[in-house]
Amino acid sequence: MSDTFDAGAWPPEDHDDLTAAEYVLGVLPHRERQAAQERAELDGGFSRRVSQWEGRLAVLNAAYEDGPVNAAVYPRIESDLFGAPQAAAAPARRVPAWRLWLSGGVVAATVVLAVIFWPQTEPPLSAQLTGEAVAFNASFDGAVLQIARAGDAADADHDYELWAIGADGVPRSLGLLRGESAQIAASDLEPGVTLAVSLEPLGGAPDGSPTGPVLAAAALAVN
């Protein structure tokens, strides 16, 4: 930064407190921010000043509205912290850990979560995804997406991957469809969201966006 700030212009007793306030506000540039952070970890007095400012400014937290929650995130957290329960079941395939969330224990946990999240009054939704060689029948009860396949499974080198495409037009993976049917915990599906199944390399689209042909797609609608 080209201009220098004369910290000495402030009364010394205020200097630390203002730095703590600036740290809490978040206005400091990267290096100063890191310095303040380290100090908060080492210096109890400074850490107390930080807490006090957090308290003073906490009223502004009301400005934050709730944001969407991606149902794929919690299983990733659990798997990072506690290990993927059945990661050993697919040793050869190297499926990324978060894609294994369809496995039993995690599904149960996630379904419970999704049920807690979802207002109970939502009407059930469904979609018939009909493709040339394969079709999927999907229904969503506000917490769990049930999806059943009619037609052949993907060949040994490929996987079917299910995507949800909302108003922003960005496909979001709901996971791989390997069996004849699957139950997927989901919290943010609504009427008009398009479900699509694409053919992907084994293990799914490598970078989180679909790469293969879309085999079938349909929008969720109220039954």
């Binding site: 400014l57 919690y74 957290i77 990072d80 946990a109």
Partner: protein
């Protein structure tokens, strides 16, 4: 004040109680996702950040001190810190507010507190306390109050604020520091 449910879930999480952690997630994920969205403004990054924030929460839950504030405030502090670390670590220019439109929603955070329909939020801070704090913001010059709120809520840096208010960076910093001292003086009164 009603029992602080989030605070007690945090204390149970600190004892490695996984079911408490799971419940904590389900109670707070939408709020923390909202914080990350507001500061980072990028869906992919929000998912990654959510993951890191909750891992940090699991690891640091024991640092939560009920006597220093409500559980949700502690969680939001952890979340803001993480988001700001990410934002400030971006290359200098990229750290600027990219989506101006999102900044200009014109919503004053304090309006939401004054609004009785925002009752859900009232739990964040005790009501009388909130009123007092709002009054302290009212005592500030309008543009200084706006700078403090913009910095806190959206993660604007001194650089961002200086450009937005059309003043040199040093002037901005002097303004803001004076505003902070006035706020402290008023709130601690």
């Amino acid at each position: 004040m009603p029992d602080d449910i989030i605070g007690s879930l945090l204390q149970r999480t600190a004892t490695q109680d996984r079911s408490a952690f799971q419940q904590l997630y389900s109670e707070t994920a939408p709020k923390l996702s909202g914080v990350l969205f507001r500061i980072l403004g990028n869906r992919t990054e929000v998912d990654d950040a959510m993951q890191e924030v909750y891992i940090r929460v699991w690891q640091r839950a024991a640092q939560y001190r009920p006597d220093r504030g409500q559980g949700i405030s502690w969680l939001i502090a952890v979340t803001r810190n993480h988001a700001l670390d990410r934002l400030r670590a971006r290359p200098e220019r990229a750290g600027m507010r990219q989506e101006v439109a999102r900044d200009e929603d014109g919503q004053d955070p304090l309006d939401r507190i004054a609004d009785p329909t925002a009752g859900v939020e009232a739990g964040l801070v005790a009501k009388g306390e909130a009123r007092r704090v709002v009054n302290c913001f009212d005592e500030l010059e309008e543009d200084r109050a706006a700078a403090v709120k913009g910095a806190y809520v959206q993660g604007l840096s001194y650089q961002d604020l200086a450009e937005r208010h059309g003043v040199p960076l040093n002037t901005m910093r002097t303004w803001l520091r004076r505003g902070l001292l006035r706020l402290r003086e008023c709130m601690d009164r």
